[in-house]
């Protein structure tokens, strides 16, 4: 299982070092609408979870992703 930050970095094709809890489509230009969806698909595959549509729409930044993963009982050590 890939950890969260490397996964985001891979999908957005950016350095891990520029990803913070408050990173969002506003702060990372690579985080466009297509990549948002690919992020959902990759997160679901990697962590073996299924988000609801409401959960997806509620995500504004990285810390929202973390919260959603925790709600789905994903282990803290792969999130942080």
């Amino acid at each position: 299982m890939e950890k969260l930050t490397p996964l985001i970095a891979r999908v957005l094709n950016i350095e891990q070092s520029i990803i913070f809890d408050n990173s969002s489509p506003e702060t990372i230009s690579e985080w466009d609408s297509l990549n948002s969806i690919l992020l959902v698909i990759e997160l679901e595959k990697n962590f073996n979870v299924k988000f609801t549509m409401d959960e997806v729409m509620a995500v504004q930044n990285v810390s929202d992703i973390k919260a959603a993963l925790r709600r789905h009982q994903v282990e803290n050590e792969v999130i942080e």
């Binding site: 891979r10 999908v11 094709n13 990549n35 969806i37 690919l38 959902v40 609801t52 549509m53 997806v56």
Partner: protein
Amino acid sequence: MMEKTSFSDYLNRNKVIKRDSSMPEIKVALLSNFTINGLAEVLKVKSYQESIWIESYNAPYNQYVQEILNLSSELYQKDPDIIFLLLDVEPFLEEFFYFPYRYSFEQRKNFVNQKIKEIESLLTILQERSKAKIVIHEFLVPAYSSRGIIESKQEWGLTESIHKINQQLRDVCKRNDRLFTFPLNSFCSYNSNSLAEPKIFYLTDMRISSDGLIGLASEYLSFIYPLASKSKKCLVLDLDNTLWGGVVGEDGLEGLKLGPDKEGRPFLDFQKLILALFERGIILAINSKNNHEDAMEVIRNHPFMLLREDHFACIKINWQDKATNLKQIAAELDIGLDSLVFLDDDETNCALVRELVPEVTVIDLPKDVSLYPSVLKKLPFFNLFQLTNEDEKRGKMYVDQKKRSLLELEIKDLDTFIKQLQIKVLIRPADGSLLPRITQLTQKTNQFNLTTKRYQEEEMHNLFKSSHYFIQAITVEDKFGDYGTTGAVIVRKDLDQNCWHLDTFLLSCRVLGKSVEFALMNELLKKAKAEGVKCIKGYFAPTKKNQPAEHFLEDCGFALSKEENKIKEYTFNFNEEFKKEILVEVKEWKN
């Protein structure tokens, strides 16, 4: 096995690839009525891996009608080589999709016929305004209906209507060489998870999932290959654990897995698929490390072997390395290494071949033999836009060629060899049925081609209809078999000057060096004299590849009369006798 490449990997790779000057460029346009973002990028990366460069144009979301109708749209400005039209059935049918039974049977029928007309006229306009090949997706037949289990009993019901639209689309494509349907329904049934999840659909209007788009791009490669003239001709096969299970040197003929039992069936089916490719015209060859006698024993005598000696144009069963064998196979068949596809179960062999002869396309067989047949079903390399009789016979023609070469080894003198072949040349005026093949010859013949004029089908049709031109097709056979239509002559008649100009004079390399070209010219000159023609002019336009034809006109008694822009013009001297001895039998076409 390699890990599956994810959609975002493709997107990221797309950002770093650069065109290599040797890559042919294909311009692709994608038109759709739903979100297909990323498809162009995946196709570009997949094509790049096959050394093809894609310039893509993704029309704005749901603007396909405007793009097609507007003469000055981006679509036409991009001048694509191929257009993919992906229409989802729901927006296409609008309200009818949800409420077909608000309408009477007659109204449903009228509505569907009107939708068919709508799409047909868009395709007609597209064809008139663009030279591109056009691929339209079939409409996906839904699984749900408000009528439930009696849906299939409804005349012009939703399901039946969509089937009818699809059938109509296929009929339109049958009548048009440049139009193709993409079988979306079977694509979806054989590729699980190819439809977008509901959540993704509602958030983005993607109707095909990211995995589905990756699968689609692979299927599209089947169209890109022939466009880029990269279609392969020959399938080279390993034997042990490829055509049969087990190792003949260890297990013996009786111990091999091949036949109708559980263990043997994957290999039997594998051979069936290969045999069907042979019958479609793919050349077969063997490249195996084995004792020649042991392996030939299986090929000749195993009761369930479907592929026999006579299916293989070249057999290399020895202890040489497989790369060397592949080079020899290409040389003996006189085809490029890049025309070969090599199938082997052994990773080391595959790696060696990739390293030493990178031109060859190498397919690793999976560890699980039950997956062997599906490997063959997914090869995109052998596709052609049109299958001529010659294409279908190619596999067998190369086997015949093998027998000819054996004869050649025994004979020293070339003229004697040619006479022994008992070559018959049939010269016939072109008719409609021959035009696709003649067009193909002008596009593909490089070596013996005086002018190398490449014609498209419509241009060829225009020449055919014109009273200023006549076109001849040349069919060749010898005692070993039929070469099919392998030559063409196009003459432009200058009626004012009573002069003939050789617009095109070409022969496929398969029949070169057999004196066929001289017989052909001799007949043409006889015909000219009989028709009272006063002058004949021939032309030689040099290319990188047509040296074999360089001195042909001089050899036939033509004299150089002019040279302009590297194109040499020759004039025939009617006082000269035709000096070349004709070694082949020429038959005139009689209706």
